[in-house]
């Protein structure tokens, strides 16, 4: 039995469709991320799960029990808000005790649970502080402690890392992940940050325009996106538009609109004549000495080179006019590739992911 299942959730605000028909299942202890751009319906979905919004159609089931008619207060879900939503007039201890007090937990047990929960987020000793006296990271921990202290059936996270600076964000992400694993918390996480989603999730639901475009492991949504939208939204991508010209030796031969010929590993359901998008992640191409003898060999002029420390990014104008993005590990001074220079690379047929374009079947 799933800990959370959404069945056919639909919601519109006036004429605007926020959610079309969303199904989602979360197993016990699973960390699922709803990833999407703003306006994709991800926040609406979380608010419906929490009970702050009411869906027009569909059901929300928690551990098999329909909670659709339950008020948020009765749903037993711990939520961490984007700006933490700590009660400014209460101390840390009072904040964390709040959900327990609402449940009429005994005084001694409250003290014990609050202590446990603050220890869990490494904030023991901060009981008497007020939220305004804490740093952003500490406030986040309090919010987390408050969300887990009453042993919720579900943990809901609404872009909780957005306000933190990069270093702290990465640290908090890993801490949340460890905590979630240790307590085996079924977690629904909403973010627009694809990197965050890849780091944290067991599975990612990529949302676009009120629908889940793809549900899969981080690896699957990154390496094998189901649609152009997913390919574009997650990570950086090179997308070629083209048509399958032939299938030979288990390889698709794709003729691109720009006149290149690509070879990709054949996939079920793709036959001659289908229009496709071919995706290559920028780190996949391998450098070559030049020459266009093999399959998927390319050469072009570097029109932009960006050094990013651990990696270097090149925008390459391929012979034939197409722009291509390449990202390779950062090189030492001696092996600098600079703008105006030539770059040659080859792409293995396994590194080309072929997406059937809408209208033709996969």
């Amino acid at each position: 039995m799933s800990d959370l299942s959404l069945k056919g959730i639909a919601k519109h605000f006036g004429d605007v469709v926020a959610l079309e028909h969303v199904d989602l299942e979360l197993a016990r202890g699973e960390f699922t991320t709803i990833l999407g751009p703003s306006g994709s319906g991800k926040t609406t979905m979380l608010r419906i799960v929490a009970g702050f919004e009411h869906q027009d159609a569909g059901q929300v089931l928690v551990r098999g029990k329909d909670v659709t008619q339950l008020a948020p207060a009765k749903r037993n879900m711990g939520m961490v808000f984007q700006n933490y939503a700590l009660f400014p007039h209460m101390t840390v201890a009072e904040n964390v005790a709040f959900p327990l007090r609402m449940r009429r937990t005994g005084r001694a047990e409250i003290r014990e649970r609050v202590g446990w929960s603050l220890d869990t987020v490494a904030l023991g000793g901060y009981e008497e502080r007020y939220p305004s006296q804490l740093s952003g990271g500490q406030q986040q921990r309090v919010a987390l402690a408050r969300a887990i202290v009453f042993d919720p059936e579900l943990l809901l996270l609404d872009e909780p890392f957005g306000a933190l600076d990069r270093k702290l964000r990465e640290q908090m992400q890993l801490e949340v992940k460890r905590l979630q694993r240790r307590l085996n918390l079924t977690t629904l996480f909403v973010t627009h940050d694809q990197e965050e989603a890849l780091i944290l999730s067991d599975s990612i639901a990529v949302m676009n325009a009120g629908r889940i475009e793809q549900l899969g492991t981080p690896r699957a949504v990154y390496a094998e996106p189901a649609s152009r939208f997913v390919a574009d939204f997650i990570g950086e991508s090179n997308l070629f538009q083209g048509r399958v010209r032939a299938i030979t030796n288990g390889l698709l031969v794709i003729e691109t609109e720009a006149g290149h010929t690509l070879h990709a590993r054949a996939r079920d359901g793709l036959v001659e004549g289908h229009s496709v998008s071919a995706l290559v992640r920028p780190e996949r191409p391998q450098p070559t000495d030049g020459g266009l003898s093999g399959i998927n060999d390319f050469e072009g002029e570097i029109i932009e080179a960006v050094y990013m420390g651990e990696s270097e990014k090149y925008r390459v104008a391929l012979d034939g006019g197409l722009e291509f993005l390449v990202r390779w590990p950062g090189q030492g001074e001696a092996r600098t590739r600079s703008e105006g220079g030539r770059l040659a690379f080859s792409i293995s047929p396994d590194d080309l992911h072929v997406i059937a374009v809408d209208g033709s079947k996969k």
């Binding site: 207060a73 984007q82 939503a85 609402m102 449940r103 305004s132």
Partner: protein, 288 residues
Amino acid sequence: MTASAGLAASFRYTFGRGNPNRRQVLLGLPTVLFLLFLFAIPVARFMLLPIADGTIEPYVKALTGELFLLVIWNTFKIAAYVTLFSFLLGYPVAYFLTVAPPVWRLIGFFCVLIPFWTSILVRTYAWLVILGRRGIINETLLSAGIIETPLAMLHSTPAVLLGMVHVLMPFFIFPVYSVMQRIDTNLISAARGLGAPDWRVFLSVYLPLTLPGVLSGATLVFILSMGFFITPALLGGGRVTMISVLIEQYVNTFLDWQFAGALSAVLLAVTLIAYGLMKWAMKGDKKW
């Protein structure tokens, strides 16, 4: 944001870098001089009249005379009631203005502001017209045959309270509204999500968060009530005596300026004490 930053920059440009505190003092100087010579000194002289005449007897009389203590107590009581009713009636109005859709908010503000912009005298006379012996209410009830003789509604404490609450409520609504507006709605969602039923959300989260606004609104209303004159004078008609009415009588009727000064000093002292207490009560929010 950029506009105010630009303004600040131009101020820095105009006034140079010097000690900002001294510069700011300079900017406030005209107002300070104006208040000092045209307000503070005359008022101080008025209140110190007995001292200037070499006696403290009027102060003693004002603080010990049974009648005067009664009037001070009465004034205090009326001010407290006005404050209480402003809270009970004004708080929901402020909340309505906070959550109402834009059109209703506009209408609501209009309803609060229009009386606010109307002269107190006009509004008080309007109550005379409504509540009077031959006023709207009595005429209606009489012609409907519900009552035989006109009700005596004027010249009573309830009439004074009604008029004062009406006049002073905006002073309560605005500070509370400005605080309510800044409350993060996520806090309310958070409280509900953490298991609080609506009444607990209100008592444990919303009300405490609006408390700074409530206290500053209440302070304003209370202090203004303590020294209120026109409304108690007209609607109380001599039967409801507040201290300012008494002071006016000593100035205009008895021509005893010494004692009027002493009573004013007492009024100021009582008001300052009340203000001090409220400040002290507000100290709590320093923490957050």
